[in-house]
Point group: C2
Chain length 308, copies 2
Amino acid sequence: MRVTALAGGVGAARFLWGLKHYLGPEELSVIVNTGDDFEWMGLHVSPDLDTITYTLAGIANPETGWGLKGDTFACLQRLVRLGGDDWFRVGDLDLTTHLYRTCQLRSGAGLASVTRSLALALGARAMILPMTECVVPTRVHTAEGTLEFQDYFVRRKAAPQVTGFTFQDIESASPGPGVLEAVETAAAILICPSNPFVSIEPILAVPGIRTGLRQFPGPKLAVSPIIGGRAVKGPAAKMMRELGHEVSALGVARIYQGLIDIFVLDREDEALRGAVESLGLKVFAADTFMDSPETRKRLARQVLEMIR
Amino acid sequence: MRVTALAGGVGAARFLWGLKHYLGPEELSVIVNTGDDFEWMGLHVSPDLDTITYTLAGIANPETGWGLKGDTFACLQRLVRLGGDDWFRVGDLDLTTHLYRTCQLRSGAGLASVTRSLALALGARAMILPMTECVVPTRVHTAEGTLEFQDYFVRRKAAPQVTGFTFQDIESASPGPGVLEAVETAAAILICPSNPFVSIEPILAVPGIRTGLRQFPGPKLAVSPIIGGRAVKGPAAKMMRELGHEVSALGVARIYQGLIDIFVLDREDEALRGAVESLGLKVFAADTFMDSPETRKRLARQVLEMIR
């Protein structure tokens, strides 16, 4: 069964890692947010593509969720000595990815092709697709002014109060190679437990993708990134609050209303079932907290069984 | 006493390391060949600038002469797994230099300024000056066609037979900031024991530098890189043979005839004294083989005493 997922960073990567145990490499396509992409020391860094590639390849740092297992930081430490910043933690192995990607892009290769080469070389057995090959950086509008995404997210640890997001030049972007095909040929579409505002919304904002999803006739499902009113990881709950959403799985379901037909919430949030159903969504309750390989695989298995 | 040296890579670096023990940081200026500079993975690499900076800072790899002491190769190994080459051995710490330089150059800083920042940050206490900030890559003409310098020198291990060298666009290049001043204000000019064809000649070929040297009224001295008919390191002897020069200190002296007034040859080559003197050069015999910190310092001390 071919499944196409929309994905951001760490939460999505963990869910996808579970899925890959029940799907062949040809059965899992992942459309990945590139709104977080930025330049670091002149190199093109794609945080979400890397997190998903590393996690699916089984080489991600299990503690952080991002970066590489056993990576060293000789280069970064020296860079600090040269007057550089170290708030964005690039390891020596991780750096290779950015160096390779930048070099390939400068040679004229597209981001999709570079992503494919990296996935093959590193052993990530899935079709990992950048949402677009265009540059569409996420801008975070905050009480302290407009910030670049990594400045907001990593350097300022998502502390500033957000008032909204824009994705620069998104209106003239086109979906990356294979993206619309992955939507059209899927048996089911899954929205991973990612941040709705800065992981999923940029993907949907690429012209053609939201329409592709709307026209998709099969099951469309989202897994809530909010459990018991809290985000498992990252600032999703904080953003919901600051933007006036109800901070709950119901609040997430409202964001995806009209786009999906099945909503997966945590068993802890069973009490919200009726309210989510009243949005016209089927509700599936599962153990969505993925704190171990077993829980990741179990959630993936349950979601796939439910779709089948 | 202010001394200005013309320098290439490892041999020069070792001689300069000796000199720095007897000269204050304001007393030693080094005009460095940048004809070897090239792009590696999209990064600007300056092999001779780095070798001299690292050696003067006391952080060079003592076994190879180039690269950094205790460096690791995590990034390079991963790059090979991604299909890259590893004939140019860039370590994780060394990489930082190239990354920093490239980033600074792209931000608009000149190569001289970047070189200065690196020297200060790494602790190389001398004025290290790129011969030019223009891009003047050395092309090696060989029986197998024209090769880029690093392709010839590192990848092919200097095996192809050379027929000549050109320095691309050198006629329109200008000396780097501080270069002509370093020549004018010096008490003595030293040509380091470097390859005459691909280390010293590119420096002299930058318009203005050869004239600056010709007009320089003080002592001008060259240390032979050839001892007993052999190059201490690198392909200098092989090149001399292939280009039809006598492979000896005398052959080197002939190349520098008209440009210098003192020639330092090894005690082993005392027999050539008369022949070199007949070129109109003063001859100074010393132990020029620098196989230890002591021999490097001794040669430097002897040369400085002789000039004084």
